[in-house]
C-alpha cells in the first residue's frame, strides 16, 4: 500500500518550497562571494585592462547561478518534508508516520485507520506557503562588496606599487649621495646587490682582539665607534655569531642536571619542596579534579630527584605509568609512597646530623647487622628489640637515667601544649610540640580527609541521609578544605 496521492502531493509541495527557499539562501551567498571576487578583480583593473569588468560581472553571475543550482538540485528527504508539514499544519506527526508505515509489510490494522484519518485532514488543508524564508548572514553585508565593485569599476585604475628592496648597505658618505640622481642611485643599487650577494651564515670562531692600528679617529655618527671590536667595524653586523652563541647557551640549558639546583637551595630540602608542591596540587581536590599535567610534572621531578640517589624513583615511575593509563588514583598512591620514602630519607639524613644518641646509633648498627644476617629490614631498626625498651627488662647494663631527660634526649621527643578556651562550651585546644608536631601527620591528614569525604558522599547518595542535613555536612567538609 502506498500513501494516498493527497498526502504525497502535500509532501511534494513542501519539498518544492524547501528547494526554493534553499535556492534563495544559496543564491544570496553566491552573490556575496561573487561580488567579493569581482571587487578583487577590479582592484587589478590597471594591469588587466577592459577584461576586468567582464570578469567581475561573470564572477557575480557565476556565484548567483552556482548558489541557485545547488539549492534547487540538492535532494530533499521526503521525511524531512513530512516533518515540516506536520509541524506547520499541526498534524501531530501523522504525515511522517503514514509515509513510513503505509508501505511496510508488518503494518498493523491501525495503520489503515491512520491513513484514512490523515487523508481526511490533509484534504481539508488550505494550501499555503509554510517554509519560511531564511536569509544568510552574508545578505547583510552584500551591499559592501557590490558597492565596492561598482566604485572600483567607475574609478581610475588603482596604481600598483613598484620598486625594489630598501638599501641595507653601509653609507658611503654624505657628499657622494647628494651628487647622485635618483636613477643613478637605483642603477647602482641594483648593480651592488648583484656584485655582492648576501653573506652566508658563518660559524667560525670570532677573534675579539683589537687589531693594531684599527683604533683611529672616528667621526661623529659613525657606528664603528660603538663597537670596541674594531675587526667588525668595517663589515656588516655579523648576526650569525650572535645566533651561534645563543645556540650554545640554549644547549647548556638542556642539561638541567648540570645546572645549580637553586630551588633546592631555596627550600632547604628536596622533600620539603616536593611536599609543598604535592600539597598545593592535592589540597581539597578529588582525584578526578587534579590536573594530570601538573601531577605528571610533579612525578617527573620526583623521578629526577630519585635518580640523584633516592629509593623512590621506582614509585614515581610507577605513578607516571598509572597516569599514562588514566589511573589518577593509582598515580596519587604512587606519589604518596614516593613522598613517604623521601620523608624517611629526609628524617634519616637529619638524624645523621647528630640528633641520634649513641645508644640509638648502636641499636641502628645492630639492626643493620641483623638486616644483613637475619633478614630484618631498615624499618625495623627504629623499633629495635621490644625487651630492651621496657623498664626492668632491658639487657643493657647501662643505667637508663631519669625518664624526662631521656625523652628530651631522643630525637622523637613529643610534647603536648594547650590552653583552655572559654565559650558556650569550655574547651581545650592542644598542639603537638617537638618534631612530631611538624612532620608526618599533616600529610596523612590530607589522605584521611579524602577518605572521609568519599565515605560521606557514599553515605549521602546511598544511605538516604535526610535532606535537611545535607547542607550542614557539605558546609563542614567545605570548612575542612578551607583550613
Amino acid at each position: 500500500m502506498t500513501p494516498p496521492a493527497p498526502i504525497t502531493g502535500l509532501v511534494q509541495r513542501v519539498t518544492r518550497q524547501i528547494r526554493l527557499r534553499r535556492a534563495e539562501h544559496a543564491g544570496v551567498r553566491g552573490a556575496f562571494w561573487g561580488a567579493v571576487g569581482a571587487a578583487l578583480v577590479l582592484v587589478f583593473k590597471g594591469p588587466l585592462g577592459a577584461a576586468s569588468i567582464g570578469s567581475a560581472v561573470a564572477l557575480v553571475a557565476v556565484g548567483v547561478l552556482a548558489g541557485l543550482a545547488w539549492g534547487l538540485l540538492r535532494r530533499v528527504d521526503a521525511r524531512d518534508a513530512a516533518h515540516v508539514a506536520d509541524r506547520a499544519f499541526a498534524l501531530d506527526d501523522r504525515v511522517a508516520t503514514v509515509l513510513e508505515w503505509a508501505g511496510r509489510p508488518d503494518r498493523s490494522p491501525l495503520v489503515d485507520a491512520l491513513v484514512a484519518d490523515t487523508l481526511a485532514r490533509v484534504e481539508a488543508l488550505a494550501p499555503r506557503r509554510i517554509v519560511r524564508r531564511v536569509l544568510p548572514r552574508e545578505a547583510r553585508w552584500l551591499p559592501v562588496p557590490v558597492l565596492t565593485a561598482l566604485a572600483l569599476s567607475l574609478a581610475p585604475p588603482v596604481p600598483m606599487p613598484t620598486g625594489g628592496l630598501p638599501d641595507f648597505l653601509p653609507s658611503r658618505g654624505e657628499d657622494e649621495r647628494e651628487e647622485r640622481s635618483a636613477s643613478t642611485l637605483l642603477e647602482e643599487r641594483t648593480r651592488a646587490l648583484a656584485k655582492q650577494p648576501l653573506k652566508r651564515a658563518m660559524l667560525e670562531e670570532r677573534d675579539f682582539a683589537q687589531r693594531a692600528g684599527a683604533g683611529g679617529a672616528t667621526s661623529p655618527g659613525d657606528l664603528t665607534a660603538i663597537f670596541k671590536d674594531t675587526s667588525l667595524s668595517g663589515h656588516r653586523p655579523d648576526f650569525n655569531s650572535f645566533l651561534k652563541k645563543g645556540d650554545e647557551r640554549l644547549k647548556l640549558l638542556e642539561h638541567v642536571d648540570r645546572l645549580p639546583d637553586l630551588q633546592s637551595d631555596f627550600t632547604s630540602t628536596s622533600y620539603k619542596m616536593v611536599f609543598r608542591k604535592s600539597k598545593a596540587l592535592t589540597s581539597g581536590l578529588r582525584p578526578d579534579q587534579i590536573t594530570p599535567q601538573k601531577l605528571k610534572e610533579l612525578l617527573e621531578e620526583m623521578e629526577r630527584l630519585g635518580r640523584k640517589g633516592g629509593t623512590w624513583g621506582g614509585d614515581a615511575a610507577e605513578g607516571m605509568e598509572a597516569l599514562e593509563g588514566g589511573q589518577t588514583d593509582k598515580a596519587l598512591e604512587a606519589m604518596q609512597k614516593a613522598l613517604d620514602k623521601m620523608r624517611a630519607m629526609d628524617a634519616a639524613q637529619r638524624s645523621g646530623k647528630g640528633l641520634r644518641g649513641g645508644r640509638e646509633r648502636d641499636r641502628g648498627a645492630r639492626g643493620r647487622d641483623a638486616g644483613r644476617g637475619g633478614g630484618e629490614g631498615y624499618d625495623e631498626q627504629d623499633f629495635g628489640d621490644a625487651d630492651g625498651l621496657l623498664p626492668g627488662r632491658g639487657r643493657s647494663p647501662m643505667p637508663k637515667g631519669e625518664a624526662t631527660a631521656r625523652l628530651r634526649a631522643t630525637p622523637y621527643d613529643v610534647g603536648v601544649e594547650g590552653e583552655s578556651r572559654q565559650g558556650r562550651k569550655d574547651g581545650y585546644d592542644t598542639n603537638l610540640t617537638g618534631r612530631a608536631g611538624s612532620m608526618g601527620s599533616r600529610l596523612q591528614y590530607l589522605g584521611v580527609i579524602g577518605q572521609y569525604r568519599k565515605q560521606m558522599e557514599d553515605a549521602i547518595t546511598r544511605e538516604q541521609v535526610p535532606r535537611e542535613y545535607h547542607d550542614q555536612i557539605k558546609d563542614y567538609f567545605q570548612a575542612l578544605d578551607e583550613r
Binding site: 534553499r22 516533518h83 506527526d93 508516520t97 513510513e100 491501525l110 519560511r132 531564511v134 547518595t461
Partner: protein
C-alpha cells in the same frame, strides 16, 4: 469490529472510566489519566504523596469502576512475604487425612493496592517483584499464575522517612510510572469538602471488565510510531546517562545512573496509550514529552551533587527533554525547522 471501531471503543471506555473516578476524586485529572494510561499499557504505578491526598481512595474508586477483583495490603515493618503471596497450610479432608493446601495471599487479585509500600522490609517488598514482572509467584517450588490483568498500584509517603525502607532501584524500575500526587488548589479543596461531608454517597458504575482491559492492551500495542518519534524517545533515555558522549551538562552534573531500557519501553507504551486515548492512531512527539517525567523520574539516580543540592528529578527530566529537542532542531537546516 473494525480497528477504527475498536479504537473508538477504547476512547469511549477510557473517558468513561476517567469520568467515574472523577466523580469521587476531585482534581488530580492528570494523575487519573496517567493511572489509566499505566493500566492500559500493562504496567504498574507508584503513587507518591503526603497522607490525605486521596491516593488510596483513587485506587479503590478505580477498582470499583472495573469489574475486577481488588485487594489491599497495608505494608508494615512486620509484614512477611507469605502474608502477600500466601502459604501452604495443613488441612484435614473428610477421611481424616492431612495434606498441604495452598492458601492464596492477597496478591491473587486483579488490582492490588500496596499501601505505604516503603514501610515493609526489603524482603517483603521483593515478594512483589516476581508477580509484577512475570505475572506469577512461586510458593513451595510451584509457580502460580496471577489473574490477568494484574495491576499493582502502590503508594508511598515521601516524608516521615524514619523507620521506612526506601524501594531499591530494581523494584522502582518495575513500576511503569511514578506519579506525584500534589496538594489540591483551594477550589478543589472546597469541592472535596462539599463532596465528602454530605450524607449522599456517590455511586460508581462498572464500565469495563477484565477481558475488555486485556483487549485494549493488545490494541494499544498496534499503534504505529514513526522512527523519528522513537528516536526522540530513545535519545531522551540515553541523555539521562552521564557517560553518554552527547549527554547534556545537567545530566553530567547531577546524575549518577540514568534510566534503564525499561524506561524507554515505558515511555513509548505510555505514549501509545495517550495517543489512542486522544483519538489518534499514531504516536507524536508531544506524547513522548508528556510522559517523560512519569516514566523516567524514578529511574534516575542522582549523584552526590544532585542529592546535596536537592535537585528535583522532574525539573531534571524537563531539562533533558528540552536539551534533546533543542539539539535535534539545531541539527536541522533552517528551512526544515
Amino acid at each position: 469490529m473494525s480497528q477504527e471501531e475498536r479504537a473508538q471503543a477504547f476512547v469511549s471506555a477510557f473517558r468513561a472510566l476517567q469520568t467515574e473516578v472523577e466523580k469521587v476524586i476531585v482534581g488530580h485529572g492528570e494523575i487519573i489519566a496517567h493511572v489509566l494510561t499505566g493500566m492500559f499499557a500493562g504496567g504498574h504505578v507508584l503513587l507518591e504523596g503526603v497522607p490525605g491526598l486521596g491516593k488510596t481512595l483513587l485506587v479503590k474508586t478505580l477498582a470499583e469502576g472495573l469489574e475486577l477483583s481488588f485487594s489491599r495490603i497495608q505494608f508494615t515493618p512486620d509484614l512477611m512475604p507469605s502474608d502477600i503471596v500466601g502459604t501452604n497450610i495443613i488441612v484435614e479432608d473428610a477421611d481424616g487425612r492431612k495434606h498441604f493446601q495452598f492458601q492464596h495471599g492477597p496478591i491473587f487479585a486483579h488490582i492490588l493496592l500496596a499501601d505505604e509500600i516503603n514501610r515493609a522490609t526489603p524482603k517483603t517488598q521483593s515478594a512483589l517483584l516476581e508477580g509484577m514482572q512475570e505475572g506469577a509467584v512461586t510458593v513451595g517450588g510451584a509457580s502460580r499464575p496471577l489473574p490477568a490483568p494484574f495491576f499493582v498500584l502502590a503508594t508511598q509517603n515521601p516524608i516521615e522517612m524514619e523507620g521506612t525502607y526506601p524501594l531499591p532501584e530494581a523494584q522502582l524500575d518495575r513500576f511503569l510510572f511514578k506519579l506525584r500526587v500534589r496538594y489540591p488548589a483551594i477550589e478543589e479543596l472546597n469541592a472535596i469538602i462539599d463532596r465528602t461531608t454530605r450524607s449522599r454517597q456517590v455511586g460508581i458504575e462498572r464500565v469495563m471488565s477484565g477481558p475488555t482491559v486485556l483487549g485494549f492492551r493488545e490494541l494499544v500495542r498496534e499503534v504505529p510510531i514513526a522512527s523519528h518519534v522513537r528516536d526522540f524517545a530513545s535519545t531522551i533515555v540515553m541523555a539521562t546517562h552521564p557517560q553518554w558522549e552527547l549527554a547534556p551538562d545537567v545530566t553530567r552534573r547531577y546524575v549518577r545512573y540514568g534510566a534503564s531500557p525499561r524506561g524507554a519501553q515505558a515511555l513509548v507504551l505510555g505514549a501509545k496509550v495517550r495517543a489512542l486515548a486522544e483519538g489518534r492512531y499514531n504516536v507524536s512527539i508531544e506524547d513522548i514529552k508528556a510522559l517523560a517525567a512519569p516514566a523516567l523520574r524514578h529511574r534516575l539516580i542522582l549523584n552526590f551533587e544532585g542529592e546535596a543540592e536537592g535537585v528535583d528529578t522532574d525539573i531534571l527530566v524537563g531539562q533533558v527533554v528540552e536539551s534533546v529537542e533543542a539539539a535535534s532542531v539545531e541539527r536541522r537546516e533552517p528551512f526544515l525547522q
